[in-house]
Amino acid sequence: MSEIQRKDWISILSKTETIDLKNCIENINYTKDYKIIYGPNVGSIMIRARLGGNGDPYNLGEATLTKCVIKLEEGTTGYSYHLGRDKIRAEYAAVLDALMQDNNYYSKLQSMILDLKDKINKKENHIINESNSSKVDFFTLVRGDG
């Protein structure tokens, strides 16, 4: 089974639905208390883009963002930043981020997180395949002698 870097599991958690996050925590029977250090609170993020697609950055517009920080009894701190306003989801993700940093829990969660990654990939594949079904070959009709 491939190792998961923290950066990667945070990314996976950010694209996972609330129910799946909840299931992960339930599946490893984590019932201890954790302390909420911050939030979950809804704020905003300014999304930036690039002039012309690849030039200097500019401010495109904002998006809602939910932030949560928790601390496990064991002392590990977990963070989550999620687009949108789902506070429950942000809290679960922060808990999972903390659990994944703990070697004990990591070994239990690893395969579940990889499954979530697989689920995200499949969803993306589905969108691309669907798009590809409308791929078109335009052909040009030449006028006159040309």
Partner: protein, 362 residues
């Protein structure tokens, strides 16, 4: 000048009640937010852009609350936005890493990855579909194909022209503190980062009209621009929180991008080449991203040493009037009580008329 008035509390209360009643005149079923999000998705996407806040749930709520008055919905979203603490600025979106839903080029026929029509009204017949009048239930599409696709890469089409140096290059000044209209006052001459933000939240109708004026002859060159590439799809959003010290993905959003190619005759320093106009919007907003790209190119006129003679090239004209929250505020304030001002005008007109009619001025 507007002079404040007092009173009318009871009437206002009653007026608000009537407004709410208008929404439920005959007691039809309440529309669910998810229904608006899915079945009126273009309206939702317009509101997130002009409301300048990517949150489709809140956009749908605003549309419901405003009873479909999109400018009012945009106003609601803008007002909500001001209550939010800003946590972060994202890393600039990389639009080349996109999960594609639509991608076309009107300039090049054969492009790597192909032309993908995606969901579009373009080839529909524009005939009313009367079956929707009595559509009972919507069955979701179940046909899932999640096999690994042959191709996931959609390289930027206009890079072709770049290879031959036929296309103007984007300048990278490494400005990592771009203008922010929500924090900084407008300034002129405006820089491109300033106008791109204002255009992104600008009124679609206004920008569409302006871009139309340019291609009909009231624009920098009066020529026909070409769509280098239009893309619609999903991109990841990244931030680098201080407490983590590395970059993380925080979710994904939909965007529409337009690369417009336009002529430039060249000058002393530059041989003739193609110039670019760029448009980017939240969600599926192709028409607006195209309009922005044409306005962007026109606003660049001054930089090319082109003569500024049309409204679309005039920074102050475009940027001061593109915002529909401001525009509707100023236009519709005229309906508020102006009794004192008008009294003054009345007296003045009476006085002038009297003077003339009594022959004093003749």
């Amino acid at each position: 000048m507007y002079v404040a008035v007092k009173g009318g509390e009871k009437a206002i209360k009653s007026s608000l009640k009537l407004l709410e009643k208008k929404r439920k005149e005959t007691g039809t079923k309440s529309i669910e937010i998810n229904q608006i999000k899915e079945q009126l998705s273009f309206a939702v996407d317009r509101v997130i852009n002009e409301g300048s806040l990517y949150d489709k749930d809140l956009s749908a709520l605003a549309i419901k609350q405003s009873q479909g008055d999109l400018v009012e919905a945009i106003f609601l979203l803008r007002a909500y936005r001001t209550t939010l603490e800003r946590y972060a600025y994202s890393t600039a979106i990389d639009t080349s890493k996109i999960i594609i839903k639509r991608r076309i080029s009107a300039s090049f026929k054969d492009i790597p990855g192909g032309q993908i029509l995606g969901p579009t009204f373009d080839y529909s017949h524009r005939l009313l579909d009367f079956s929707l009048m009595k559509e009972d239930e919507i069955n979701s599409y179940e046909n899932i194909n999640n096999q690994e696709p042959k191709n996931k890469e959609f390289p930027s089409v206009i890079d072709y022209l770049n290879n031959e140096n036929l296309l103007e290059q984007e300048i990278n000044n490494l400005n990592d503190n771009p203008f922010d209209v929500t924090r900084d006052p407008m300034k002129f001459p405006a820089s491109r980062d300033q106008w791109m933000q204002i255009l992104a939240r600008g009124d679609e109708g206004f920008l569409l009209g302006l871009s139309y004026s340019a291609i009909r002859g009231f624009g920098s060159k009066g020529t026909h621009p070409f769509v280098g590439e239009i893309k619609y799809g999903i991109v990841d959003i990244f931030i680098s929180p201080d407490e983590l010290g590395f970059e993380i993905c925080i979710g994904e959003i939909e965007i529409s991008e337009c690369q417009m190619i336009d002529q430039f005759a060249g000058n002393k320093n530059t041989p003739p080449q193609f110039t670019r106009g760029y448009g980017l919007t939240f969600g599926y907003n192709e028409r607006k991203s195209m309009a922005i790209s044409i306005v962007d190119r026109a606003l660049k006129s001054e930089g090319y040493g082109e003569e500024i003679k049309f409204p679309i090239q005039d920074q102050e004209f475009v940027l001061y009037h593109a915002d529909n929250v401001e525009a509707q505020g100023f236009v519709t304030h005229l309906k508020l009580p102006h009794y004192v001002d008008f009294q003054g005008e009345l007296n003045l007109i009476r006085k002038l008329r009297n003077e003339i009619l009594q022959g004093k001025k003749l």
